[in-house]
Amino acid sequence: MQHKATLPPWCLTGLVLGACSLPLVLLATQLARGQLGPDPAERLMQDTGEWALRGLALVLLASPLARAGWRGVFRYRRILGVTVFLYVSVHLLLFAQVYVGWSGALLIEELKERPYVLVGFSAWLSLLPLALTSTDKARRRLGRHWRSLHRLIYLATLLAWLHLLWLARSDVGEAVVYGLIFAALLGWRLRRYRQRAR
């Protein structure tokens, strides 16, 4: 696909920024209006988690799209990546506020005894250095190490998916759907890697 931009890039950037913040803005509005039901924490946890997963899938879609000819896609991948980190951070903050009540002892207990909490927390931890090194300056300074560091996104994806699967109680439908999407996106990379190795 030839990207013959009729729109200037900043316009599309604005659009992407808007799209990225929309779910969070909508959730905040609904929260302020009391439209999230009697247990808003549960809804917010679920929705921020799901938007983070969708965002992750889009981040991983950038490389195949670039390969298909849209080189400009990487400009927006960064915004998307930082957005994912933002949503996961909100998710984590909610957990601390509503489920742990900011008790250090309880947080340690949760991390020790509940593997899905540990796995989710590790996913956030593995995204942290990526968010911190998302500036142009950091990228220049890290040079070729930047790419290796940012492969952590694969680990974060696996952890996030495991976190989702572990939370399913009786219906694994959602975990299966995300599993297939992630398998396709990671499988594409594996295939390319093998082809190049040959």
Partner: protein, 321 residues
């Protein structure tokens, strides 16, 4: 001459219709007139699903009345996986369940097996209000003013035999009306099943609920009748019951069969025994908010320790969770 009060010796006092039931006929007639209308094709979906007023005795212990969870919250935030796994699914989709006519089959180790029609239930038992704490295994809780009658009153009519040690309950399973049961990825083996030990079932706190907040149950809350066992996690309080069996062996129950390490047969509310995936020491007492989560400590036996702890004397509640 002394005045004699007339009594008819041919009517046993147990057969005299209690006043509340007599008065209840009005509610019953009101409810069934909807049925007649729908039989004539006059009724629309909404009128069939509209909860109707009940006549009942008010809970004499009103200590929890001030803590009641608002009606909207009780009827919009539910776990009823037959209609989907999201909390808002039952309120959206349970209307598709037809609750009229409704028959409950009672059998197993009883001397008088038989069927109960909803009409018999509504006219045959004294309804009373019970304001109970309701604690979900997912660590949220509500306070609900149920309307119902003790399960023991129902079971006694069917005369459980002495070999009977457990009671098994089943929920309606009707694929065409329950979209959640049609999910390909659901791992629950329908119909939903629950069970109690017979002494738990006969305990005066164990309630058959036919209403809440003074009205008949909305479908999402388990219409037309459900179990309420206030000292156990909510999943024990099985909804929309169509079958009750007295058994000698401990019956298989849905969640325990699915994940025995997470859900026990007893499932007594116990802050000391965590669910493997979350702590049970606290609960979000709904409605909750982000800035005021209303996170309160969970009480042993959900606050009913005094009344029910005796049932489990000598049992290791860590082993029998």
């Amino acid at each position: 001459m002394t005045k004699r009060i007339y009594t008819d010796p041919s009517i046993a006092s147990s057969e005299i219709t209690p006043e509340s039931v007599f008065l209840n006929r009005r509610a019953f007639i009101k409810a069934s007139s909807g049925t007649a209308a729908s039989a004539l094709g006059l009724s629309t979906l909404s009128s069939a699903a509209e909860p109707s007023e009940l006549i009942y005795k008010t809970d004499p212990d009103g200590s929890l009345r001030g803590e009641q969870t608002p009606y909207d919250a009780v009827t919009s935030y539910n776990n009823f996986y037959e209609f989907g796994t999201d909390k808002s699914d039952p309120a959206r989709h349970a209307d598709s369940m037809a609750t009229d006519p409704w028959t409950i089959k009672v059998g197993g180790l009883v001397d008088q097996p038989g069927e109960l029609h909803l009409e018999d239930v509504m006219s045959g038992f004294d309804l009373e209000e019970r304001i109970y704490r309701f604690r979900c295994v997912e660590a949220w809780s509500m306070v609900v003013p149920w309307i119902g009658f003790p399960l023991s009153a129902l079971l006694k009519r069917f005369a459980p035999r002495s070999e009977g040690r457990f009671v098994e309950f089943k929920t309606l399973y009707r694929r065409s009306e329950m979209r959640g049961t049609r999910s390909f990825t659901s791992v629950i083996d329908w119909p939903y099943r629950e069970g109690l030990r017979l002494d738990e079932a006969m305990h005066p706190l164990t309630l058959v609920a036919v209403g809440l907040y003074g009205k008949t149950l909305p479908n999402q809350n388990g219409a037309p009748l459900r179990l309420v066992v206030p000292w156990k996690y909510g999943f024990k309080s099985i909804k929309s019951i169509v079958e009750i069996n007295v058994t000698a062996e401990q019956p298989e129950t849905s969640w325990q069969t699915l994940q025995p390490n997470e859900y026990g047969f007893f499932a007594n509310v116990n802050p000391e025994v965590d669910h493997p995936r979350w702590s049970q020491r606290f609960e979000r007492k709904l409605p909750s908010s982000i800035f005021k989560p209303n996170r309160v400590p969970t009480l042993p036996f959900n606050g009913y320790e005094e009344q029910v702890a005796g049932l489990y004397e000598g049992m290791d509640l860590r082993q029998f969770y």
